[in-house]
């Protein structure tokens, strides 16, 4: 006897991002197995990420190096801006043209610079190197010892933080437990005034650790070790700042693995990405892991990473990027809609291969690539398309003991503009996908271009933005996985809805 067709609707599929941690069948359908080159957009949909719009016209200054390893935009009080970047053992200015501004007779053999701006100055710190400094008044970039206000001995630290009105530097070649701070508002003054230092070798909760990173948050000075972290309050006056908390077994993976979201501090521990506020609240409890949904995969990749891991927060894009350059993957943690368990929705980027990120003063996201500086903009990577991939976990439709016969799949997408979409489905945990390819209709460019995210247009009934594709499906199985792939080539696309109609069969 024929069974009634059962309709299963997955609204905003993948809205909860990737989840490779929980058992697939027990998961909410809003989780997905793959969401590559995707972000969670404002509507909570899985959407194509933006591309890397290469700004640099000539990669010649970078030679055969890995590329741009750090970028920092400096704006002085007059509003004039200048973008500094480092790569190929040089210091550059400019974006379209990279101008070498490395001080004469200053030999650089590594590009692991930390660039911080403080009180009309830009400082460059790297372990074992005498710091460099730039200011509009003391151009060009010069060794800090040549700065007119230089006093004492600036630590050749690897980590620098501009906070609480002064520079904080740590992690020198020989001293991993002392934080040095400059005089107030005087980043080149390392003796006299209110300069000083603190040796926290007796403070580490685990007995020993090494300073990896520094951060300032909500009046706290956060000192990250490899295996633990120490938080000081009252750092506005370093001489009287006091220990607020010391957390063991949670540290920081690398110097560039800390990002401030303004209301929280996100940092990468070898156990995953963590939130400082939750970590303080919950101490070392694993629940503070905001990368919980991809924890195992994430940890494996982190452990295998050999490059400079960096964590970056973009307030405009509302995501935290965790870049694993040697693994060719960037994890994207959406900060708009944290899950109930505190974890963030996760997607990945695999084809962009950035090396570093920075936010400009207008919140534009810049990134360093092998060929120069790029802006997170458009929907092409250096003029090339990239593939958006989405796959759901196996879906049982509430019963894993009955056969399902997919009859039709209605896929609702947003935008896409003539993109070729490949819809695919497979049964019973296999990768034997059946595919159906279709092309989305062209968009009304003017409407899209003018008000892409205005409240009216994107939910309008315009067929140019919303496309409902009905695909006849085939095959049978107890569980079914669905997914789409599409080349993103100049136009955004978001997956709005999956509507799967299946015939439920006998129990097997």
């Amino acid at each position: 006897m024929a069974q009634q067709i059962q309709n299963i609707t997955i609204t905003a599929p993948g809205f909860a991002g990737i989840n490779t941690q929980d058992a697939p069948l027990a998961q909410d359908p809003s989780y997905c197995a793959i969401a590559d080159n995707c972000v969670i957009d404002k509507q909570g949909r899985v959407a194509a990420r933006k591309g890397a719009l290469l700004l640099t016209t000539s990669a010649t200054p970078l030679g055969s190096s890995e590329g741009i390893k750090a970028i920092k935009q400096f704006r002085d009080d007059s509003g004039a801006t200048i973008v500094f970047s480092v790569g190929n053992n040089k210091i550059f200015t400019g974006t379209t043209t990279l101008t070498d501004v490395t001080p004469a007779a200053y030999t650089i053999t590594s590009d692991n610079w930390k660039i911080v701006a403080h009180n009309e100055h830009v400082y460059f710190f790297q372990r074992g190197y005498v710091p460099l400094v730039y200011s509009t008044a003391t151009t060009p970039v010069k060794v800090i010892t040549a700065h007119p206000g230089y006093t004492g001995t600036a630590p050749n630290g690897n980590e620098a933080l501009a906070a609480f009105g002064r520079l904080w530097v740590a992690d020198t070649t020989t001293d991993k437990s002392t934080i040095y701070w400059s005089d107030l508002l005087e980043g080149a003054k390392w003796t006299g005034g209110s300069s000083g230092s603190i040796d926290i070798s007796k403070v580490w909760p685990n007995g020993y650790d090494e300073i990896v990173a520094l951060a300032a948050h909500n009046g706290f000075l956060v000192i990250f070790g490899k295996e633990s972290m120490v938080i000081y309050q009252g750092a506005n006056d370093p001489s009287t700042m006091t220990l607020y908390d010391a957390i063991s077994s949670i540290g920081c993976f690398g110097r560039d693995c800390v990002a401030s979201t303004g209301k929280d501090l996100i940092f990468l521990d070898k156990s995953g990405l963590r939130s400082l506020s939750r970590t303080i609240q919950e101490k070392s409890a694993p629940i503070g892991d905001i990368s919980r949904n991809v924890s195992q995969d994430f940890k494996i990749l982190i452990a295998a990473e050999t490059g400079t891991v960096s964590v970056h927060y973009s307030p405009t894009e509302a995501f935290v990027l965790v870049n694993l350059p040697s693994q060719y993957v960037t994890y994207v943690f959406d900060t708009q809609f944290p899950m109930q368990d505190g974890s963030y929705r996760v997607t990945t980027w695999t084809s962009m291969r950035p090396l570093c990120f920075t936010n400009l003063v207008d919140d534009t996201l810049y990134m360093g690539l092998v060929s120069g500086i790029a802006e997170y903009s458009g929907y092409q990577d250096s003029g090339e398309s990239y593939v958006l991939s989405y796959e759901s976990h196996p879906l049982s439709f509430g019963s894993t003991s009955t056969l399902k016969f997919l009859k039709k799949i209605n896929l609702t997408t947003f935008n896409g503009d003539t993109a070729t979409v490949s819809l695919k489905w497979a049964y019973d945990y296999t990768a034997s996908y059946k595919k159906s390819v279709f092309v989305l209709p062209a968009n009304n460019v003017a409407l899209y271009g003018e008000a892409e995210y205005n409240e009216g247009e994107e939910y309008s009934s315009s067929i140019s933005l919303i496309n409902r594709e009905k695909i006849n499906a085939s095959g049978q199985g107890t569980v079914v996985s669905v997914g789409i792939e599409t080349d993103v080539d100049g136009s955004s696309i978001a997956i709005q809805e999956f509507n799967i109609q299946a015939l439920v069969g006998r129990i097997i």
């Binding site: 002392t178 209110s194 230092s197 603190i198 403070v203 006091t242």
Partner: protein, 333 residues
């Protein structure tokens, strides 16, 4: 030519006197004169014998009259012995040696020693010593200050150590043990604590100095009182020095007193000696004068005798020419 030789010569020519009476008369007169001279000499000898007991003045005064007078005028040393056995001995040079008995010498030395001690105790050096005693030794005072400071500090040290430990504990709890600042060196609290401790130690040092000075003042006061007593004693002793000195020289004074009668006797003896000497001297002078007068008379007689002979020889006689010449030649010898 002696008288005997003359007589012999004259006797040798006696036969010629017979021939030549005048000549002989003359010769006789000469002989008579010679006899007179001889008598005078005998008289002279008798006088000298009677005066000095010797025939000649030289015999009476073998060393000479002057030496005899000089010898008679010399001081005759004498010795006086007191009843205690002490002696006062004069010498020819006019010196006086007072020799006390050993007991008297011991007593004198003892009294003089006491006087010396007393006098020595009153001098400037003693005053300087007194000043030093009253003022105290600055080095000792510093040592005392250090001692008091050390004791006070030792009493305060536990509290200071507790404060340090509490601060260390607090800084440890606050994770601030490793703070070093250009402004404070370490933490402001540590600086404040060390500053407070330093101020306390400074106050303690001042207290120690005050205490040491108070102790020194007390010591000086006590010393002053003792010294005043000592000074009074010394004053008494100083007043006693003359008595001691007087007593020390009492045996000597007694000896000198005992010397006075002897001096008087010696003075009498000296007067006698002076008188005798003067008498001898006068007698000697008179004897010499008399002898000189006699010698002058004898010389006059001799001149007269010779003049008589020369007058005889003035008569021209052929035979006598040769003889007269011979006599003249003989007498001329």
């Amino acid at each position: 030519m002696t008288l005997a030789e003359l007589q012999q010569a004259l006797s040798g020519v006696g036969k010629f006197t017979n021939q030549y009476g005048d000549i002989l008369a003359g010769i006789g007169g000469a002989v008579a004169t010679e006899k007179g001279i001889s008598d005078i000499r005998d008289t002279q000898t008798g006088l000298m014998q009677g005066l000095t007991g010797s025939s000649t003045l030289a015999g009476a005064f073998p060393g000479g009259l002057l030496n005899s007078v000089k010898e008679g005028m010399q001081f005759k040393p004498f010795t006086v012995t007191s009843g205690t056995g002490a002696t006062a001995t004069t010498d020819t040079a006019g010196g006086l040696n007072l020799n006390l008995t050993p007991q008297e010498q011991a007593l004198q030395q003892q009294l003089l020693g006491l006087s010396g001690d007393l006098a020595g105790g009153i001098g400037y050096g003693r005053q300087q010593t007194l000043m030093d005693l009253l003022r105290g030794n600055p080095q000792d005072q510093q040592t005392r200050e250090a001692d008091i400071y050390g004791r006070l500090n030792a009493m305060q040290a536990p509290e200071q150590e507790r404060a340090r430990l509490q601060l260390e504990q607090r800084l440890s709890n606050q994770g601030r043990l490793g703070v070093k600042t250009s402004m404070f060196g370490g933490t402001p609290e540590a600086l404040a604590l060390e500053k407070a401790i330093a101020e306390q130690q400074a106050g303690t040092a001042v207290d120690a100095m005050g205490q040491a000075r108070a102790e020194q003042a007390q010591y000086s006061g006590q010393t002053l009182a003792a010294l005043q007593t000592q000074l009074q004693e010394q004053e008494l002793m100083a007043q006693s020095i003359p008595e001691f000195l007087k007593a020390a020289y009492t045996p000597q004074a007694g000896l000198l007193g005992a010397l006075s009668p002897s001096v008087d006797l010696s003075r009498i003896q000296s007067a006698l000696q002076a008188g005798g000497t003067e008498a001898v001297s006068n007698l000697g002078i008179q004897g010499l004068t008399t002898q000189t007068n006699l010698e002058s008379f004898i010389n006059a007689q001799r001149q007269q005798q010779l003049q008589g002979l020369f007058d005889l020889l003035k008569t021209p006689k052929q035979d006598n020419t040769g003889l007269g010449d011979q006599l003249l030649k003989l007498l001329g010898q």
